[in-house]
């Protein structure tokens, strides 16, 4: 029975942990601007992250090797170094966006200017990384993140014309006043938000930390298959809220309070309190994962001792990298940079960088000398190969689109 409860809580925290600042901003922005015409990208992204995370978790469980350890081993130290530089920079941007998101959520509850809260939020993130046990951390913020289900309640309460809502999903088209380049740019942003690389760094490193073995593969699949789809539905609920409330009022999402406005207008103060707690938990949980990922990627490339389980004294350089990265993110957030803009850049560049880590994982998942009978099956390889082509196409299109649309203006 205890095992069942463990699995159940695991799935719930996977749902709660799926949405982060990138999903909140991307889905609300696209809902407000493109109605439901980009909803299909979320579906593609969720299937992609399921394939990607399941493979990374299986590789970590069977070979005991996390992502960046494999990136260097399979691509060589030189290309691995360039890969590390790009991934670390994007992870740094995401961490900055998440910390700013935590501060904004608190400021909306307390009306203290969010810039004053940023340092406190960063110290709180560090304290949890430094002291709180891994499972407790995952459970608390994963379960609190479930408060975001209030977006789904809002959509249900508004009682929209469902087939009109679904028509956007099933027959997507570029709205007349928008040009296809901007449509594609926001599609890539949504795709990057759904398939965030740091989730895979954290997911595979967590599997090694928790000493997963072949016995845990079943639980890994359940977590991914039952946890991510509802997370994807939650993202679509955020998009639907923006489509139903913000779009008719000609509101484009530029700040986090606009994202939570539809819930307040529909469910009042109670709904607002719940959604703000949900945003706090989701962004705080993601800040923990990105802070740890900063340490994971460098330690795993250089072969240092790493890990959240061991006391900090046994993994000193790992924790030092986390402290320095968190401090740097705090300064960048305090530099008056627009947090929503930083979030946009982090998810778009995440989309562009996906092949860098997806490609080596796909190769190792096909290496019998590592995976034995857990090597990828034919069907999984077919789907994974299609995604590799999609990821490379997205990666090649991102920078040009960013220039053409001046970052989605």
């Amino acid at each position: 029975m205890k095992k069942l409860l463990g699995v159940f809580l695991g799935v719930l925290s996977a749902i709660g942990g799926f949405v982060d600042i990138g999903d909140l901003v991307a889905n609300a922005e696209t809902g407000a601007r493109f109605r439901m015409n980009l909803a299909w990208v979320v579906v593609v992204g969720v299937v992609g992250i399921i394939v990607y995370a399941e493979m990374a978790g299986r590789v970590a469980a069977v070979s005991g090797r996390p992502v960046f350890d494999l990136v260097r081993e399979r691509l060589g130290p030189r290309f691995g170094l360039a890969n590390l530089g790009a991934s670390f920079f994007i992870n740094f941007l995401t961490l900055t966006a998440e910390v700013a998101g935590v501060a904004i959520a608190i400021s909306l509850l307390s009306s203290i200017n969010y810039l004053f809260i940023v340092p406190a939020a960063a110290v709180l993130v560090w304290l949890v990384v430094w002291r709180m046990p891994f499972e407790t951390m995952e459970r608390i913020f994963g379960l609190l993140g479930l408060c975001l289900l209030v977006f789904a309640v809002t959509v249900w309460k508004i009682g929209p014309d469902w087939n009109q809502l679904l028509s956007g999903v099933v027959h997507p088209h570029v709205p007349s006043e928008e040009n296809p380049f901007t449509y594609a740019y926001y599609g890539i942003a949504l795709f990057g938000a759904a398939m965030t690389p740091y989730e895979v760094f954290f997911f595979s490193s967590g599997a090694v930390e928790d000493k997963w073995t072949v016995k845990d593969l079943g639980e890994n699949r359940i977590n991914v298959l039952l946890g991510f789809p509802p997370g994807g539905l939650l993202s679509l609920a955020i998009m639907a809220c923006a489509h139903l409330v913000l779009a008719p009022a000609n509101i484009g999402v530029g700040t986090l309070d606009q994202v939570s406005l539809p819930v307040a207008l529909t469910l009042g103060k109670v709904g607002l309190a719940i959604v703000l707690i949900g945003i706090f938990a989701a962004t705080f949980g993601a800040a923990l994962e990105t802070a740890l990922s900063a340490g994971y990627v460098i330690a795993q490339y250089l072969g240092w001792t790493w890990g959240k389980h061991a006391a900090p004294r046994r993994a000193t350089r790992f924790h030092l990298v986390i402290i320095i990265t968190l401090a740097a993110s705090t300064f960048f957030a305090l530099s008056g940079v627009d947090p929503v803009k930083v979030t946009e850049y982090s998810i778009v560049l995440s989309a562009a960088a996906l092949p860098l880590t997806y490609f080596p994982i796909l190769v190792v998942a096909n290496d019998p000398s590592y995976m034995g009978e857990h090597t990828n099956g034919r069907w999984l390889n077919a789907i994974a190969s299609v995604y590799l082509v999609v990821l490379v196409a997205v990666a090649l299109a991102t920078i040009p689109l960013m220039i053409i649309t001046k970052a989605g203006q």
Binding site: R74, L75, G76, P360, L362, V363, N366, D367, P368, S369, T375, N376, R378, N381, A382, A384, S385, L388, V389
Partner: protein
């Protein structure tokens, strides 16, 4: 001497024309027993040619088979890799990093 010097070496035949760079080094654990425990690893052959990535990822002399798309792509890139036994080597100038064949 370090294996990275050997891996960076250019292989030239007796006439001095280059056959490509050393891509990988095959070692065989059949040398004299060392430390009373295991046999030593003897450098047995060099893999020379152009395609690096396919070999490094395990498609060429490793066991990686799938997915089909990558196997096709990477197999073709490392088609020109050739195995040169150590017996065919006259000498290895590790300063200039050139392997001279007989």
């Amino acid at each position: 001497m370090r294996i990275s010097d050997l891996l960076a070496s250019d292989v030239q035949d007796a006439g001095g024309t280059s056959l490509g760079q050393v891509r990988d080094v095959r070692v065989v654990q059949d040398g004299p027993v060392v430390g009373g425990v295991q046999a030593a690893f003897r450098v047995d052959a060099l893999l020379v040619g152009r395609g690096t990535l396919g070999g490094r990822l395990g498609y060429h002399h490793g066991q990686v088979q799938g997915p089909w798309l990558l196997r096709m792509l990477l197999r073709r890139a490392s088609r020109t890799v050739r195995t040169i036994e150590m017996t065919q080597i006259d000498r290895w100038d590790d300063e200039q990093r050139i392997v001279h064949l007989r």
